[in-house]
């Protein structure tokens, strides 16, 4: 099963890479997991070098840095492992003239799909003011898991990207699915 699962991730990684190049996107960074915390820091710090070289403004660089830290730490905390102990996952950061697109993928157990879906659907249903209210409620409610998370991860990604979080669950077997999430960050402010 787990070999199939890894093949699924590898195939999807290749598929997305091709899709990006066919649709006018330039892939800035793409990595397959598992990653260590040091890896995550290294990827983020690489972006601090690579993005300014492409003319990306400091404010956007900082925002993408924060987004990728948030997304990858989230995967490290919550992504399932294969029987061999590997946390199958990947991510892409790609850009065209208008947007940055960030796609992440990890393994998720069927028992938590409903909860994750409900949370992301709620985030997507809120306008900017509603999202801020939800963020403030979550920030101040004081609940934290043993892993140190507090449910702010998805909200933060949506707020920083200022876009909905597109997602899909692709069943891999009777227990596990591939959870893929995508968000777009506009390069220019509305009205520019």
């Amino acid at each position: 099963m787990f070999k199939t699962l890894l093949n699924n991730f590898n195939n999807r990684f290749i598929e997305l890479d091709e899709k990006f190049s066919l649709t006018g996107f330039q892939v800035i960074q793409a990595k397959k997991g598992p990653w260590t915390q040091e890896d995550v820091e290294g990827f983020a710090y690489d972006l601090e070098t690579v993005l300014p070289e492409k003319g990306v403004k400091k404010g956007i660089v900082k925002r993408i840095f924060s987004l990728i830290i948030e997304a990858l730490q989230n995967i490290r905390l919550h992504g399932e492992f294969t029987a061999e102990g590997e946390q199958a996952s990947f991510y892409f950061i790609a850009k065209n003239d208008d947007i940055f697109r960030i796609i992440t993928a990890n393994i998720i157990h069927k028992d938590v799909i409903e909860k994750v879906q409900a949370r992301v659907d709620k985030i997507n249903s809120l306008d900017r003011v509603g999202l801020k209210t939800f963020y403030m409620e979550t920030l101040t409610d004081g609940h934290r898991s043993s892993k140190g998370g507090a449910g702010l991860g998805f909200i933060t990604v949506a707020m920083k990207a200022k876009s909905n979080l597109d997602y899909s669950f692709e069943p891999l077997d009777k227990s596990y699915s591939r959870f893929e999430m995508s968000c777009d960050l506009k390069l220019k402010k509305e009205g520019d």
Binding site: G59, K62, S66, E70, Q73, L139, R144, K147, L152
Partner: protein, 122 residues
């Protein structure tokens, strides 16, 4: 009570709580994977802290993850508690002038705490 000094790490800020010189700063970036764990020592230190002078608490973070945002809020709440109804403690929240997210985080802290928080653009 001794001062608390933590050197800056790859994903953690420099922390200087120097009692004798009345300097209190948290500076750098903050995105440890387990922020709760990193900040627990700082919160324990603050639990035992009684200031003898007025003090400014300087927080200057270049990057801050969502879990660190919660931990820094816990610090501000501790300071709020120490301050009681007084005005002997104030927080200076420094932010990069082109980083609207960091500015908003400071504004959020200001909204949800009683302590005086000054927002200062670098």
């Amino acid at each position: 009570m001794s001062s608390l000094i933590l050197a800056e790490g790859k994903n953690t800020p420099e922390v200087i709580f120097n009692i004798s010189e009345n300097i209190f700063t948290i500076k750098g970036k903050s995105f440890p994977e387990n922020a709760k764990k990193f900040y627990s020592d700082i919160l324990y230190w603050l639990d035992d802290f009684t200031p003898s002078n007025d003090l400014n608490f300087d927080i200057e973070l270049y990057y801050i993850s969502s879990s660190s945002i919660i931990s820094v809020l816990e610090i501000i709440r501790r300071l709020d508690k120490i301050n009681g109804n007084g005005d002997s403690i104030s927080v200076n929240w420094y932010y990069d002038s082109d980083d609207e997210d960091l500015k908003k985080i400071g504004e959020d802290y200001k909204r949800i705490s009683n302590i005086s928080i000054n927002l200062i653009a670098n």
